[in-house]
Symmetry: C2
Subunit: 266 residues, 2 copies
DNA sequence: TAGTGGTCTAGACCACGTG
DNA sequence: ACGTGGTCTAGACCACTAT
C-alpha cells in the first residue's frame, strides 16, 4: 500500500487502491485519505446492521487484515468514529457500537438539569399519537414532499411529578410505519432507544434552535402555567446516517428550577 | 525513549523520562502518556506567552527535537490542542496560536443568529463600567473571596439598530486592573480580543446555563420591550488556562427574529 | 497467558503553500 | 525546490481485561 495514495490528478487514480474485499459500491472519482475510506466502510457496517448497538466490532488487527491496511490506519478511522460518538473504545476489551440506552443518553439528548444538581428520572405521558399529512414547514425540515405522511406525537415530561416539558415530535411516516399510541405506551425506556430497536433508526447528530417564547393558551394549560409565561422553546432536527433528517422536535420547557445546559463553545 | 514509559507503580518512575530541557516545574508522581506531557509543555508556552495569538509555533520536527521525542508524539499533542481550539493547523504553512479576532469568533461566543440566516455585525453600547466588591454568588463563581474587588460592565448589543442583548459582565478586579469606561470605549473590536491583547487573559472554554425568564422593569426598559416579555437568559462562565474562571456573564436576549444556535449534541 | 486497545518510534511519501 | 503539515506503514512495548 505504501505510497500508492497519489493525487487524483495523477495518472493512476488512488481509488483503485481501496483494499477491495468489500470496497465501496461506486468507486467515486474524488480523492480521500485511506483512513476516511475505511471510516466510510465501517460506517456502512453500522448503518446496514452488520454490527448492532451494544455489540463489539472486530479488533483493530482483524479489521486491518480485512481491509488490507495497517492497524494504524484502522485506528485513525475508529478514532474519528469514536469522536463522533458512533463507537466506544474500551481498553483491554474492544470497540463497541454506541448504544442509546446508556446512562449518558438522558443528558445527551435532554439537557435539562435542575438548579440543585440532583438528577431525577423523568416520566413521560403520551397525549396524542396520530398520522397526518406533513405541513409545508415540517416537510421541508424532514426533506419530504408536502403532504407526505408523518407521525405527530405530543407528550409531557414530568420531573418529580412536576410537568416541565411539552414535546411535539414529527417523524416521517414511511420510516415509522406501525407506530401507534398503543405501541408507544407499551414501550419502556427512552424514545430514541425505541426508534433504534423498533424501527432501526438511529439518531446520530442533532442541531437546535433555542428561543424564549410566551406560553400560548394550549401549552400553558398542558404545563400548568399562566398564559404568557416565559418558556424555553427548543426546536431540534435530528439526523441519521448520511445526514438524513428523521425527526423534528419542538419542546416547550418550564425553566423554573431547571436550566438548559451547554458546555464548551467549540 | 522507547519503552521507558512504564507504570508509575514500577520501580523506575516514568516521569524522569520527560525529555528534560524545559521539563515541568514540579515533576508530579502521577503517570501520564508522553504526548500528554508534551501537550502540557506546549500549553505552558501558550500560557506564558512564548508564542502569542496569531503567531506561528515551531514546526513539528523542531518541537520533536526540542523535547527529544518523535514527530508522531508531538503530532498527537498538537492534535489535541487543535481539537481544544488552542492551536490551528494550516497544511503547508505551519501551526498557529488560535486568535480571538477571526471571523468565527463572533459565532463561537455569540451564538445568536437571525431567522433569515443573514449575518449582521453588531454594535456595542456601554452603559456602565465600575469597580465594586463581589457579591457572594459572583465571588463563588469566579473563585474569589467574598467582597474581593470585581469589575462590573453593563452594555447593550444592537443588530441593525435593534437592541437585542443586555449583558452584565463580571470580571475579577485583580486581573483587570485599569479597566475603565474610557479604556473600554476606546477599544474597537470584540471584547475577548481586548481581554487578550490588553490584559493578557485568554478565554479558553465556557459553560452556559440557559433559561427563559420574564423581563423585569429595568431590563425591559433597556431592551425596549414590555415588562414580563419572555427573554432568553444565558449565564456563562468563561475559563482560562488551568480551568480558572475569569468571567461571569449574564445576557438577556430578545429572541424575536433571532435564535440561539447549538449544533451537534456530543 | 492471551487478546485488546493505547503509546511511541522511525521512516517513507503525499499535498499544500511559498519562494 | 523546499519546508510544512497530512497520511501510511511496520514493529515494539505498555496497560487493561478476561480466562
Amino acid at each position: 500500500m505504501r505510497g500508492m495514495n497519489s493525487n487524483p490528478a495523477s495518472t493512476t487514480n488512488s481509488n483503485g487502491t481501496v483494499p477491495a474485499a468489500e470496497a465501496a459500491s461506486v468507486p467515486s472519482p474524488t480523492f480521500s485519505p485511506l483512513y476516511q475510506q475505511i471510516k466510510a466502510l465501517i460506517t456502512q457496517g453500522l448503518e446496514f446492521g452488520e454490527w448492532k448497538p451494544g455489540e463489539i466490532i472486530p479488533s483493530e488487527v482483524e479489521l486491518a487484515a480485512r481491509y488490507k491496511v495497517s492497524q494504524g490506519t484502522v485506528r485513525k478511522a475508529i478514532d474519528e468514529l469514536a469522536a463522533d460518538n458512533l463507537l466506544v473504545r474500551r481498553q483491554g476489551k474492544g470497540t463497541f457500537v454506541a448504544a442509546h440506552n446508556e446512562d449518558r443518553v438522558q443528558f445527551r439528548f435532554l439537557r435539562l438539569l435542575p438548579d440543585d444538581g440532583d438528577v431525577h428520572p423523568h416520566v413521560s405521558r403520551l397525549l396524542e399519537c396520530r398520522r397526518l399529512r406533513a405541513p409545508a414547514e415540517i416537510a421541508r425540515q424532514l426533506d419530504l414532499k408536502p403532504a407526505d405522511p408523518v407521525v405527530l406525537i405530543k407528550r409531557l415530561l414530568q420531573f418529580d411529578g412536576v410537568t416541565t416539558v411539552f414535546d411535539e415530535i414529527w417523524l416521517p411516516g414511511a420510516v415509522f410505519r406501525g407506530l401507534t399510541a398503543e405501541r408507544f405506551s407499551e414501550y419502556k425506556g427512552p424514545l430514541y432507544t425505541m426508534f433504534e430497536t423498533e424501527f432501526g433508526t438511529r439518531m446520530i447528530r442533532a442541531s437546535e434552535k433555542i428561543r424564549a417564547v410566551a406560553a400560548d393558551e394550549t401549552v400553558a394549560q398542558y404545563l400548568g402555567v399562566a398564559e404568557g409565561f416565559p418558556l424555553l422553546l427548543v426546536e431540534r432536527v435530528s439526523y441519521t446516517y448520511g445526514d438524513r433528517p428523521v425527526e423534528v422536535r419542538r419542546g416547550w420547557y418550564v425553566t423554573t428550577g431547571y436550566y438548559y445546559y451547554q458546555n464548551d463553545l467549540s
